[in-house]
């Protein structure tokens, strides 16, 4: 079998590695026009800030690919013929395949703003984007970042590290309003203030204004304000990269349409990761998933089907994490911006420092926990996964909360304060902290529940 993978991001590479594990004899080729070697897209910001070099964000050393017989081709796949099972590459070679995986990722989304093609206006998705940003932001004073999500705050942090004055435009009334409840967003807002980032809430980009040389000089916002900016970062989201899929006439909508086995409309052609759109997403699930973790999970799942072990894609319990300047964030399960009907939300926040914990639960379903947000606290993934999977009552979770504490040694333990507040807020079933922090507690807890957390895929 010859498997050809278009795209060497986390999805394509996970699929390649999993295929190598399942089918040691398979021939595997990875085609990319971005870089020869796989790198961690989420780490691009650290290269700009000088924390890391490009070679430091490669998850595998260069010998890895040859030793595992993963052939790397640095070229653009310009067209695809699904009848003859052939790809045409930009280096004039053709590449035939038995199975093809499209893991072409995303492109930055632009909303047709006047002036968006000016020099100094760009998104940040790829390594070439980063190189361009590094060139274009050299020696500038002011920048505007459009978009109140993860990439938006990343761009703000990157520019801040170079001493560039940043104004962040956020469409909604608080930061990342589609995901974060207001109190958590306010903590992020405090981080932005502490780092002297100007934020304009309820403000969008209206127009980009040029200077005499065709470079951006300022932006005009929807509130009519004109902001000086020699560079403008567009962080209003990404959209699936469909260029190759469309040359082959595959079924597409916003993304490449796939069934639950991640098969496209053409035989032997699969799509996974950012570029795939699920025809029938599960309840409360989005059709297009654009996360590192979901990309990894889809890549692993699709490899099973490719290797003749059909495996439907199941996302499993939700989790994610991020860091907003100095504030770490983790989520396990579902935490809607506003609690849904039948759900209660308990929120604790330290009065002075940047620590907060939110636990959602369903009083009508034996108080089962449904999700958790942690800000400035580290929580154990496997412990929370087990609690969520076994619908553990919130009282039990709080009693055992120390078993989920993943903060380093000597860090202040906030569990007593959290439980005190819970008991004040919900006095019907008072809770006392039972466990101590540490590996032993975690081990006893997971062994006691005797349910092995599964990955859900």
């Amino acid at each position: 079998m010859h498997l050809v993978i278009i795209g060497n991001g986390i999805t394509g590479v996970t699929a390649a590695i999993t295929t190598r594990r399942l089918r040691p004899e398979a021939r595997i080729t990875i085609v990319s026009d971005e870089t020869t070697h796989h790198f961690s897209r989420t780490a691009l910001m650290y290269v700009y800030m000088g924390h890391l070099r490009y070679q430091d964000i490669k998850p595998y050393e260069d010998w890895f690919w040859q030793e595992n017989r993963l052939e790397l081709v640095y070229a653009t796949a310009t067209s695809l013929d699904t009848q003859r099972k052939e790809l045409l590459l930009s280096n004039q070679h053709t590449l035939s395949y038995d199975q093809l995986l499209l893991a072409t990722g995303s492109v930055s989304r632009f909303a047709n703003w006047p002036g968006q093609h000016l020099r100094g206006v760009q998104g940040l998705y790829s390594l070439p984007d980063l190189a361009k940003m590094a060139r274009e932001t050299h020696n500038i004073r002011h920048a505007v970042v459009v978009g109140g999500g993860l990439i938006g705050i990343e761009l703000a942090e990157m520019l801040h590290s170079r001493g560039i004055q940043v104004t962040l435009l956020v469409r909604d009334e608080h930061y990342w309003a589609s995901v974060l409840p207001k109190p958590e967003a306010e903590l992020v807002n405090q981080q932005l203030q502490a780092h002297h980032i100007n934020v304009r809430y309820r403000t969008e980009l209206a127009e980009l204004l040029p200077d005499a040389e065709g470079r951006v000089r300022a932006v005009r916002t929807t509130t009519g304000e004109e902001l000086v900016a020699q560079w403008v970062g567009i962080a209003t989201g990404v959209t699936p990269n469909l260029t190759l899929a469309q040359t082959a006439g595959l079924d597409t909508d916003r993304g490449i349409l796939v069934n639950e086995l991640l098969q496209t409309s053409a035989a032997g052609v699969f799509a996974a990761g950012d570029c795939a759109q699920h025809r029938q997403p599960g309840a409360n699930e989005t059709a297009i998933e654009q996360l590192w973790y979901t990309g990894r999970a889809q890549g692993e799942t699709v490899a099973h089907t490719i290797c003749g072990q059909p495996l439907p894609y199941r996302r499993g319990a939700w989790f994610n994490s991020a860091k907003f300047f100095n504030l770490e964030y983790q989520i396990y399960g579902r935490v809607p911006v506003v609690p849904v009907a039948g759900e209660e939300s308990f929120y604790w926040q330290h009065p002075t420092t940047w620590h907060a914990l939110r636990i959602n639960f369903r009083p009508d379903a034996n108080f089962a926990v449904t999700g958790m947000n942690a800000m400035g606290l580290r929580q154990r993934h496997d412990v929370w996964q087990t609690w969520l999977q076994t619908s553990t009552p919130v009282h039990t979770v709080l009693q055992e909360l120390s078993a989920a504490n993943f903060d380093p040694e000597f860090f202040r333990q906030h569990e007593p304060a959290i439980i005190r507040q819970f008991n004040e807020q919900f006095p019907a079933h008072p809770v006392t902290l039972k466990r101590r922090r540490g590996l032993l507690s975690r081990w006893q807890l997971l062994a006691g529940l005797s349910t092995v957390p599964s990955s859900g895929r």
Binding site: T36, H51, R53, S161, Q330, H381, L439, S455
Partner: protein, 461 residues
Amino acid sequence: MSSTSTSPLILTPPPVPHTSGVEKALLTGVGVGLVALATVAFDADAQRAKICFWVALALISIGTLGWAWWKFGHQPAGVRQDNLWLRGSTGRGAIAWLTAVVLTGFYVVLYWFSSPDDQGNFGPLNQLVHALDPFSQALRHKPSDQWFLYGTFYTLAVLIMGGRALWKYRHSPYQRIRTASVMFFQLGFAFLLPGLLLAFQRPEYYFSYFWPLKYDYLFPGTVGYLLKDGGPGLGVFMVFWGAAISFIGTPILTYFYGKRWYCSWVCGCGGLAETAGDPYRHLSDKSRTAWRWEVRIIYTVLVLIVLLTALLWLAASGAVPALQPITDPLSRAYGFAIGSVFSGVIGVGFYPLLGSRVWCRFGCPMAAYLGLLQKHFSRFRITTNGAQCISCGNCSNVCEMGIDVKQYAQRGEPIIRAACVGCGLCSTACPRGVLNLENGPREGRYQASPLIHPDSLRILS
């Protein structure tokens, strides 16, 4: 076809240098201090040299501490790594090269050109050594020598740069306490206490160094000397203490806490690496090739010192008279190659080029011994948090021991490596809260998280 062409080269332009007035003033203090220190060496006027010496130390100390406060103290607390690889001083640039040459040169002069001659002249370091005479008299009741000068500089470096580390990592209680610990052990156990012992006419003994790092502490010659000069009570205690920690305390403490109880909390070499070496920690080589050399070299050194010690005792017992003429040259060869060249000249002199733990990683037999215990007989490991790793590489970058931490984290595996000194920086630097240093039950110590499927590919074959 399997064509691999080169990727687009990324050239991140360095940031535009910006040096504020406050920073310039503080650096001026450091610079004037360095000039004053240099003049001491050449000053014929002993009195003026003494004054210059103390003024120099004061300026360097205050300037460096002030600079650290300015760099880290007046920003929000958190991981501060901006421009680490883009600055010449910390990115193997011209300034790093110059610093390495100066440091290495100092060690060469100290080890081989500053032994006192018949008139008590300490070569090029003479005035610097004598500038410390009053202090040495007060502490040790004897005149200064080149090793006292070195000890003073060393301790000062740990304290000042320890102050910097406290500012830099003030958001992490683990780093604060650990930094305070290495500062305490260097000042108390490796500087003041040995000095006081001398003042009381006792052997200069370092209670924080043990065989096989301080190899001669279990050589027959040193044991005999300690028993004789230490007196019946103290001398016996010193020999007992050294042997007990080496053979009983080390396995027990390492079982409960891992190698870190010594390497990043107590040891003086580790203390210097964690403080003065902190700006260079990321320079350690993370490649598989470097790991292979590490394994080849460090265990060879351990075998050498064990054999040498055994030979010395065998010779001292008189059982094999043929050994007598070769043991002395052998131990002098070890002292030169390992004790001086490896641990001093290369170990510290090359900080700005190879990172701060070259000696600890490739050469230290104590680290090798602790590492074997940590790998096979310990409750310590670095836990990976489920499937949260994003392979960003920050953990590997800050690992001073050159462990490619992300290889484990991205596979959901705990990190159990002989080299790990437990400095905790991987956990501190991780942006997603994935890594944690933990002591726990040994059952399932190597078990990976079920939330991520490892790729089952070997990383060191």
